[in-house]
Symmetry: D2
Subunit: 301 residues, 4 copies
């Protein structure tokens, strides 16, 4: 991930000038503001703005005239209660705005989270940079043989080399041609909105993405999950670290009840009860399908 | 509108302690923060938090590394361009959180704006205060005779007195009974979630309401409009004053292109063109219905 | 619940005239179409339209050119997989439109589900009917002593009588005054948008409500839950019966994974594991708060 | 656009079996159901399902017990009134579901319309087909010299040939390498979720897209507009033709008030008034910026 001197200067200027505000301030988040957190080979996440803190969740839940409660421990207990009982609206009272640089195929997954605000760099209006995601060798995984939608072992030797070679060469050639099509040197120059169609899905794009804390947690639950594709998971992980510093109590509750938690089906509850009562239960006697049983045993087997 | 000493103290405490932040600060909005802006006889609006300023709109539109552009005048030109061309996503990058106290029948209109976050005071959990909206005499309007959904002349004399008397007496009696049903003095006491059903629609409720600037402008366009019911319009007007101080360039563009603007139909465009060419056009020759013509003539007649 | 002869005729006319369509038809739902399912003393739910069936969920998940798969059992397996793994978008491909008559205080809870389309009967434009929700004696519950937001024992004897008396008398008097304020007999007549403020929250309103199946399941999970207020739960229960006939496979998966399921926290998973390994775990050694432990023991105790 | 015999058979089977329904049926839409409407070189749009008709808009606006009004002309007048006054919720009561095949760069614009339901063909799970959008020669446009985000003249001669040659060669080579990376012939085979990153933005994808009529009109207003990129506009145009047959009254109102209409700013209204009063107004005396004036004169100049 490389920034131009001009971009670095813009960031430093933004960080150089603290101002007074009466709003809720989250010191843990102020430390992150504007800084670039590198992700993948050319990507990044950086916080551009935020609204609220743990106290704001409590304040809204109570519809109070001041901030939070008097005691931080009370705030935390209430926040855990709200999370446990799916009272989601108080978490919507915190908001975060991120500037993200990411490969297009990651952006295409990300954008499926609809309850968010987005401004993306326009390739109709501007020219994209020559920056492509090329996986690290240890991320060059084979197709999973058990999961149609997952990765298996890491590719080895010549096969890995061939793949990297193809990805690099095709990216380079596509971008060369992109530039040649756009060029107005001795020719008219193709419209930018057309020329971009030649660029592969590992080219980087950027956007401003703004979302409330409830919907961000939903994003993190799906995208920081082990079933998420690695290339979006690293973004979710980077964001999770920031959220932990921003709203530590809410993040703690999220970790316990969502990330570390498990959704048991009615059949799953029944099997746990029977086992606790000493019964031996197998897939055949569980009422579950094979796939469901495999997942259940992954937790309690 | 009356606040308890404890509520006033909470508000003063919130305003007493400015802190340093690296985020964009809107000085015009800091002046409003937490203060109570009275609306109707017991209601209010107060800003509890905000995110962004005019520069944030430009920053997002450009997906830039720093804030806004170098020159305020450039920012304003771009903001007007965005507003004129319905590029709404950059305006979504600003967010505002309000604490509002309002009659239930106003809340029922307000909540129809779905793209917002809300935490309302719970009458299942808590007991509502004895505060009702009673119109000022000049707001006691008769049913409009031309518009099924509007007001006509102000009621006069005995009729006005009778109406005010009924509203006050019914509100008082309903609240007395609400308290008697809830009372646990010598009886079990009805559940709060049931007792509340006896309260009329002019009782006050409160909520935290958070919305982005694009959707707030949509709210203002519909609710600060002359066709909106007076009792919600006064809230919209109070909010509009705050927005003007918060994002003056965006608000200026909104006033010109939305509030002060007019949507002409294809037929309307044609009539204007014909008139500019010197032709006399009447409803009969306009192709418009009578209702549409009346509205058109209200603008250009 | 009473319909006028004219309303009944409208409903019968709608049911009298089946037409040919090429769309997916759900026979179980056709039987419900337009019929009134009574809820509470004057309310109802009736299906006005629907889109899709179980096969439509499979069709969308596969982005296929035809309908569902060849075998119903395959469809069901896939639907259960989608539900288990929170793949919610295929469920959004089914849509339902309901006409609901419900007390205003129920409508106020209901409307908080934002991802839906609503057209409500307008009390600015029209005059509401004299119909109020008055609880059955067995629903006249005392405030819960353990839960701030719940019901306890049923009220008895004179207390119950007093409550019913107050609810009926206040409703009647408020409506009498509503009519007197509106009357144009010898007076101007108050505007409808003002007169309605005198009406209590147990008056009935009506709306058309349209929602996709994923969001409907979310509604049912929260509102058919035992913690939901009885007066909205009976609506959720009535809708659930219709959904069961409409999309039996999806409803079965919903019942098993959502309604009958349990969300275990990370701490809860740990306690189950320790117990299955033979350890005795108490609240003190569980790491859970008292409230959380109580809920956990309610499932596995 | 080519369908396999199996796909054609699926479509014919869907059309072969009309069933009886009590729901509102729109004969104009039944004719379109399931049929493939070709767009661009390999893309298409086809209606997979719909809910409601013109009468459903009226039915919801009136919260009535039956369908529409007695007279089609009354329905149309009400629909025009609703459209003129931005009463959008009745239009949300109609819903449409489309199956669309489209280039990825078009899909990326399209998905920005958030209030819709989408299921896209998954390139993590499945292998994409070798089908790319290659523009027709007359669509090979140069970058506009007046508009950063638009097209100018059509490319000519050798430049056009070079561009087409590059687009075709790069697409072919990228796809060859995609297949080689995926191949499990003598090697492990790269994971599908990784291999897809090599594919350019003109490859075709497919999705099921479901949206209500109000949001569809919003989509059409922006994407059937002359400022929209040609490659998405042709999809919008194809959909508009279907909507016209589905809800002719609503589409007529949309055409008059939205597509054929003009949004005048407050300054624009003033200039029209002054001109109608005989005054000569120029940009300098209009108060408008140059850009705004140019657009204004484009309508009334």
């Amino acid at each position: 991930m490389t920034l131009t001197p001009e971009q670095l200067e813009d960031i430093q200027k933004s960080r150089a000038n603290p101002q007074l505000t009466l709003r809720a301030v989250a010191p843990g988040m102020e430390r992150h503001l504007y800084k670039v957190q590198p992700v993948l080979n050319h990507g990044f996440v950086r916080v551009v703005d935020y609204m609220g803190d743990d106290g704001s969740i409590v304040q809204a839940a109570r519809v109070s005239y001041g901030a939070g409660t008097k005691h931080v421990s009370n705030d935390e207990g209430l926040i855990r209660y709200l999370m446990r009982h799916w009272h989601s609206t108080p978490f919507e009272m915190c908001e975060i705005k991120l500037h993200v640089k990411l490969p297009v195929f990651v952006a295409r997954q990300w954008i499926r989270h609809r309850t968010a605000n987005v401004n993306e760099y326009s390739a109709r209006y501007s020219i994209l940079d020559r920056e492509f995601y090329i996986p690290e060798p240890e991320q060059l995984a084979a197709q999973s043989v058990v999961n149609n939608q997952g990765r298996g072992e890491t590719l080895q030797g010549e096969e890995a080399e061939r793949v990297l070679e193809m990805l690099k060469a095709d990216a380079g050639r596509s971008y060369d041609h992109y530039e040649q099509m756009l060029s107005q040197d001795g020719q008219a120059g193709l419209a930018r909105e057309l020329a971009r169609m030649n660029l592969p899905a590992n080219i980087y794009t950027q956007w401003y993405w703004k979302v409330d804390l409830h919907n961000l947690f939903h994003f993190l639950r799906l995208r920081a999950d082990q079933h998420a594709q690695y290339e979006i998971r690293v973004y979710a992980d980077a964001i999770a670290e920031m959220v932990k510093d921003w709203v530590p109590a809410a993040y703690g509750a999220f970790e316990d009840y969502r990330m570390g938690g498990v959704q048991l089906s009615g059949k799953g509850v029944e099997v746990v009860r029977r086992r606790l009562a000493g019964e031996v239960v197998t897939q055949e006697t569980s009422g579950m399908s094979k796939g469901e049983w495999r997942e259940f045993e992954g937790v309690f087997g």
